[in-house]
Amino acid sequence: MTRIPSVVTTTTTTTTYAPIPLPVLPTPSTPHDPQKYPLLNAQLPPSFRHFPLVFPNGSRATFHDTDEGDDLLQEEEFIGGKGWRLVKSDDGAGPSKSVGLIEAVERFARKRSYDNDGMMQGIETITESTSHTPPPRKKAKAAPVLPKLSTVNGAAPPSPLPSPHGSPPPPNIWPSAPPSGASSPQPQLPIQPDASLATLMSLPALVSHFSGLPVQLQSHLLITLLRHSPLPVLRTVHSVLTPILARDFLTLLPPELVSHVLNFLPFNCIARASRVSKSWRAIIDSDPVLWRDLLKSEKLWFGGDSERAFAEALIRRRRRAGLPHPNDLSLANPYKVLFKSRYLTRTRWINNAEPKHLAFPAHGRSVVTCLLLSKGRIISASDDHSIHVYSPVTGLLLRSLSGHEGGVWALASTKDTLVSGSTDRTVRIWDLSTGRCTHVFGGHTSTVRCLAIVKPEWVDVEDEHGNVRKEKWPKRPLIVTGSRDHSLRVWDLPRPGEPEYRFDGADEADIDPADVCCFFKLVPEFL
């Protein structure tokens, strides 16, 4: 508000120029090229061209955009009853007539000047001195519009605005200038700069007048201006308006509605939408109903207990890892994780357009006794005493684990730890990240033929009273080994970094020749 008075002063100065007759403003060439003026021939909704108005003095009128001419008449008939009813109700309410843009704007201008007399001291000066200038301003800005608009304006009052003749005479440009009044206009003087200056200076008056108009008139005026704006201007307006008016409906709507909206989208759209923003990603990833339905619609819902079991296992794992609550938005819903896993499995195995076949020799002519595919490694054990680690991508030998003094016939792994059992009667623990043998367990008196790693997990335990409760067993990961010595042994699985251990005879070659013969005899049977 504090700035307005200073602007006012300038405006007043402008009015002092008013007596000086200004040259006719050059009429801009009427825009015809739809490439340059995209909105020029755009179809506008009827509400833009035809709406009821109530003027400050209480009189009513129906606004008609006469720009459309015959088209409008046709349209009214075409719309039929609804449009007519609107007009009728206006007629019934009071004396109503049809007004055009210029008259409507002007009548609001008068009203504002009356109002401001008693209300706003700061702007009083403007409205007093330039009470009729806004239309000319409009004229200066949108000169090509007005002639067209006023053509059918039969009820036009003695308007200070340019007549329908396209190029108005000079007196009409400054009709309200007090000194000159309606007196005979002086001959035009070629003072070109003043014309543009005057237009510029009166912009505040134009704005204040504009803001006093009813919303519908404001819309109409702006649209009229826009229709005569070339493409670069429209682009600028668009670039300003679009981000301001944009609303992120996914973050604004209640979650249950968002879920419903998302449910209408096929999977590929959901996948794209989740890449729009972090908030969309969080909303989509955390929606259990969405992913459950997608699992079903993509035929990835196997049923039984598999989905629920997966979800519970994942939630348990997250809880153990100290991750936020399952309902926390920052974590993907288990059904989403499951969908991703199953979807990728299907696309990679079933829909793989270029499946790759990789064959490579391993362990020479010796028997490959065990094979593990784990953590991006192919681990093979052989009768030739060795354990090899291959890359599943290239088939290259990554590591050769040597140490066993007999054929290796049992393997198990977890993370980077590998456990092997051999005809040398020992169990060896290997660190797959370094290839080092960290532990050698002796004890079995014959070939270690089978082994397993037992990880802690929650199991139902029944007490003596028949009550079932969940307990976690074993307390730490174990190794169980089975041997040709008729017995089984249970060992703690060494954790990474725990002390290494080798039993005394670990480095001595002590293979029972009977064992070797024995398993060669057995080989055909095993294969």
Partner: protein, 79 residues
């Protein structure tokens, strides 16, 4: 040879901090095993299946009936 070996390894097992249990009962080579929770199931060329508690080391069940040796275990135990 066998006695000597047993003596030698037994001594080692006592020194091994990782060794927990020695489960004896099968009358022939142990060919397959599966474990979950505290339950271990082992199959042997003695045509028997034994169910063990790997915390206490006790054999809870002996499943007999097979007349030929087998060595395959389904890993999905219902514990």
């Amino acid at each position: 040879m066998t006695d000597q070996g047993d003596f030698f390894f037994q001594e080692d097992v006592d020194e091994n901090p990782y060794h927990k249990l020695h489960l004896e009962g099968h009358e022939h080579a142990v060919r397959a095993l599966a474990a979950r929770g505290r339950t271990l199931v082992s199959g042997s060329y003695d045509s028997m299946v034994r169910v063990w508690d790997i915390i206490t080391g006790t054999c809870k069940w002996v499943l007999v009936g097979h007349t030929q040796k087998g060595w395959y275990h389904n890993k999905h135990l219902n514990s």
